[in-house]
Symmetry: C2
Subunit: 631 residues, 2 copies
């Protein structure tokens, strides 16, 4: 038996509906002692990363730092219990924080922290309702409309916006709230002179340490022969290190008072209290676009990393359960003073690599964050904001995926266009509109592409049953018959194009008596296309050309029979295959066969490079025939 990529069947398809809705039943009831070491280690390391990151991301979202910590307790536990991924690390992430800032910021008068925090809670509530609702209604497939190029373009531009939003903290300049990205860039350029040199030194020093740890420390640890178990905590401890160093520096030298270094200030101690989001439809309506954007983008980020990690251990994630789990985690955030969360890329990878086996790792992380807010908050008073900014800067630098950008652009200009439009729309309009514009652009490009379908005139390869493009193969053609393969389903947007092309070909080929449309690539024919085929049939009839159809698919043919189109043309005009059509029309003798294998025949007939004179070959198959048979 071949190993399944999905692990033993028991792992994949929990027998009961209950186990699918409550995945922790599965790992809790079968918890093995050997899981514990990995879960403990991973839980601790992720907590070490999460303390500074969650405060930094809260600041990015425009929220007080403790909101980030609160969002890392109850939501993380809830996901640990309900998530179908065993290694996803949930919590505040950069892009969602940016969306929160972009969505809530404009609704709140500057300085009204209470309202801002309450709206962030409410946003988490809406995201929770949307995600859980989509999960219950099995609407997870909707995120498929966020294409890969749109996501790459969006993430890249969002990383630039996020990164730039931190520059002011590193420079130590204060900036009024500005709406557009270009305004912020302009303002920063005009006020560079007001930078605080001490803040700048702390920020750049911190960036330098983080970059060194990211780039070179793993290699050094490797060469020094540090035991595997210590490498990850040492390499991933950099944010904690800069936080400690920065705090000690500012506290001992009182740089906050003496040099005006901006610090985090008082962070309230104690576990988060029960909080109530706003239940007010007017606010909900204002927040809805942002909530939708966060629900989609957050889920997309989460499910991608969850799937990629699960496949590395031959486990499986359940897309709809993931939506429900993230939804419940966000509802948890809404009730415990947090803000929207999702599964983050970098922390999940660390969680996985540090050995997380079950949701217990997340629960351990959450426990440590809880201890932090209970005991350690006084230590954060002197933490410089420039250090938190440097953590964000280094984290988002990795989000601009230059490899993917180059790859997409090279592969396909349409996809490249969708990516570029999304990228520019995020920078020029706004983060939320960027996604909408991107999705609409990618759909428009798809429609555009299918509205001008590729059509090939085909001919017979040797004496085989294979019929291929006259431009790519040395094939046999006949002046009385035109074999046209339409490489697209026929629907309203391309049916007139097809008609015009076919009629032009007919007009150019006076000897023509039969026109065979080959349906191998026609996956459906809609009502508009049916109408066109009927009128094409009549037009060809008037010109003394018989329309035949070959190799139509079963589902398409069923419809054509039902609607009477097969009777209109006559069943003898429908052929099982192209070869069959030519036998029926008397051009090919079925007995006269090739002795070579298909691969051999094809290799010999293949033209490399293909003919480029599409226009000529398509316009004049008779000529193409002469030219090709002469070759």
């Amino acid at each position: 038996m071949v190993a399944s990529p999905l692990g033993p069947a028991g792992d994949l398809r929990p027998s009961s509906r209950l186990q699918r809705l409550l995945p922790f039943l599965d790992w809790l009831l079968h918890y093995r002692g050997e899981y514990l070491a990995g879960d403990l280690m991973a839980g601790i390391i992720v907590a070490i990363m999460l303390v500074p990151q969650s405060m930094a991301y809260a600041l990015l979202a425009g929220l007080p730092p403790e909101v980030g910590l609160y969002a890392s307790i109850v939501p993380v536990v809830l996901y640990g219990l309900l998530g179908s991924s065993r290694t996803l690390a949930v919590g505040p992430v950069a892009i969602v924080s940016l969306l929160v800032a972009a969505g809530v910021g404009p609704l709140v008068p500057e300085g009204d922290v209470a309202l801002y925090t309450r709206l962030a809670l409410t946003l988490a509530l809406l995201v929770g309702i949307l995600q859980a609702g989509m999960g219950l209604l099995r609407l997870g497939f909707l995120v498929n409309f966020l294409s890969h190029p749109v996501l790459v373009g969006f993430t890249g531009a969002a990383a630039i916006v996020i990164g730039f939003s931190q520059v002011k903290h590193v420079l130590g300049i204060s900036m009024p709230r500005l709406e557009h990205f270009y305004q912020k860039v302009l303002y920063t350029a005009q006020h560079l002179g007001e930078s605080n040199p001490v803040t700048l030194a702390i920020g750049l020093g911190s960036v330098a340490v983080l970059v060194v740890f990211k780039r070179w420390v793993p290699g050094w640890l490797d060469r020094l022969g540090v035991p595997q178990g210590w490498r990850i905590p040492l390499a991933k401890g950099a944010p904690l290190l800069v936080v400690l160093a920065g705090t000690v520096l500012v506290a001992t030298l009182r740089l906050d008072q003496r040099a005006g270094v901006a610090v985090v200030g008082e962070v309230p101690a104690g576990l988060p209290r029960l909080t109530l989001p706003l239940f007010d439809l007017a606010w909900w309506e204002l927040l809805l676009p942002t909530a939708l954007a966060i629900s989609f983008v957050g889920y997309m980020e989460s499910i991608s990393v969850a799937k990629s990690l699960a496949s590395r251990r031959r486990q499986k994630v359940d897309a709809d359960q993931e939506l429900r789990a993230l939804g419940v985690a966000n509802l948890g955030a809404a009730l415990t003073g947090g803000y929207p969360v999702t599964g983050g890329f970098s922390r999940s990878v660390v969680n996985f690599e540090a050995g997380a086996n079950t949701g217990l790792a997340s629960i351990i992380t959450a426990g440590l964050i809880a201890l932090t807010v209970l005991l350690l908050t006084p230590l954060f008073y002197y933490l410089p904001k420039a250090v938190l900014a440097s953590i964000i800067l280094v984290a988002v630098a990795g989000l601009v995926d230059r490899h993917a950008i180059r790859h997409i652009w090279q592969y396909n200009k349409g996809d490249g266009m969708a990516m570029a439009v999304t990228f520019l729309a995020v920078l020029a309009i706004s983060v939320e509109m960027g996604i909408v514009v991107g999705v609409l652009t990618s759909l428009a490009i798809y429609i555009w592409r299918t509205s001008k379908p590729h059509m090939a005139i085909v001919g017979r390869i040797g004496k085989s049953e294979m019929y291929r493009n006259v431009l790519r193969y040395r094939v046999q053609t006949w002046p009385q018959v035109l074999l046209i393969r339409v490489d697209e389903s026929l629907y309203f947007a391309n049916t007139k194009y097809l008609e015009d092309r076919v009629l032009a070909l007919v007009a150019d080929n006076p000897e023509l008596r039969y026109l065979v449309l080959i349906g191998t690539a026609v996956n459906f024919i809609d009502a508009s296309a049916l109408e066109t085929l009927e009128s094409l049939h009549h037009e060809l009839e008037a010109a003394g050309v018989e329309l035949h159809l070959a190799a139509m698919k079963g589902p398409v043919l069923d419809r054509l029979v039902a609607v009477g189109f097969v009777d209109l043309l006559g069943p003898e005009r429908f052929h099982f295959s192209t070869h069959d059509a030519l036998i029926a029309l008397g051009f090919v003798d079925p007995k006269d066969r090739d002795t070579r294998s298909p691969a051999e025949a094809a290799r010999e007939a293949h033209l490399d490079p293909p003919l480029l004179d599409v226009r000529r070959a398509v316009r004049g198959p008779g000529q193409a025939h002469d030219r090709l048979s002469a070759a």
Copy 2:
């Protein structure tokens, strides 16, 4: 030589660019004496129809009746000179008039006729600019996005709205301006008691005469042996007849004063003067949505009838020249006191059947309308509005195409849905929004359809080279190899669906070693799908299953080579055809061949009816194999 459906080449492809831009050069320079009789007869008959219709449609548009007459002079001449169709009859039509009323009405205070008329002129200017511009930029293909079902649904609903708008004239009740269709229906129902019995009698009598002429008179004339040349004028003269009869009746009995029958009143005599539309960007912006709707819908109505008539005489129309000609005709309307015009269905058919050979027929029509406004306007004073309303009512009754509605609904539920949504949106929201909603719905249905593609598991028919759906044919399959034909291009919206289906199939088939994706229906693979194929390859690899690709098309394969995907899998995993793949994998011996023809083999293997247990057969091809080979 076979006759071309498009007539002699000289007809189709005027040699010079000048002749394409000025089609009248073609017919004027080659005008033959034998054309004249037909042109004269058609010109007169169309004029007889156009006098009452143009006034009726102007009233429908909310304009004074003379505006309809003015729109039937200069625009008709311009189209006659510039149109590439020789038989299209241009002028005011019902649906465009309705769009004018819906677009201009809400912008003008009730009673301000001068502003209303000026805005209608301005609308004609914008329509002219849009259509001529689209024609020059060769954007005629954009109308392809108006699908057949959307057009049928829109026309049907618009006919109901138009028809109902005339009910008040037939009843003789006055109605304040109301925004929504349901409000008008409600108001009419509540004020039925205020009907004017004399007006109602005139209106219903007029309807009765028109219906009799439409339904039975052509048959009677036929049976009575009336000469062919007299039949059309007699049958189509009904509107003129009711106009004359109604006018004489009201004038002699002074029913306007004695019984309160609403009449047309004073119509100014004389040719239209030069008029100036508003050149004010604020107004243009307000009128733009309506102008866009009129440009598209008007062009669509016009090009459909022009094409259908041209193909009956093996002539051809040039889509872009049609746009330019209609655009210039509308500019002419804007400068000579008219309102937007287009090619109308019924008058064009009459023009054609009455024997119009060239644009001269249109010019004769326009001349007769000019004579009418010069000499006959005093006669229209006593013309009852109820008679004009009855002309519209009978004309639009034919626009609800019940045959097409039933046909579309039966053929395909997706198309039926697009039609129904458009129909309801026109009635429930507005005529303009109805089109927008319809176009978006049809695009969404298309995307939806391609996002869940049909996938077939195929097997070999007999010992042939043909591989077909296991559910439709008795075929050979192998438990170690799964042949999957994906009936759709792979793109972002369906790529995750494909991945999930394939992985589920793999999980269900433990003996599987090779998975062959058959690309006959895959017309392109976008960047998202490429990403999915790469991860699918890795997932299958981990499960010990080899991913092979067969029968990928040339353009698709070119891209896969360029991006390195062929090297990633290894070129030996790419096969020329499904048969070729099975030979390469050692399952099929190329020498072991069928002696039957493909058609014979297929007929014998065909299962009728097809197996319906898709789920079982697709999930377990091993079982399907057993079951099918047992059959």
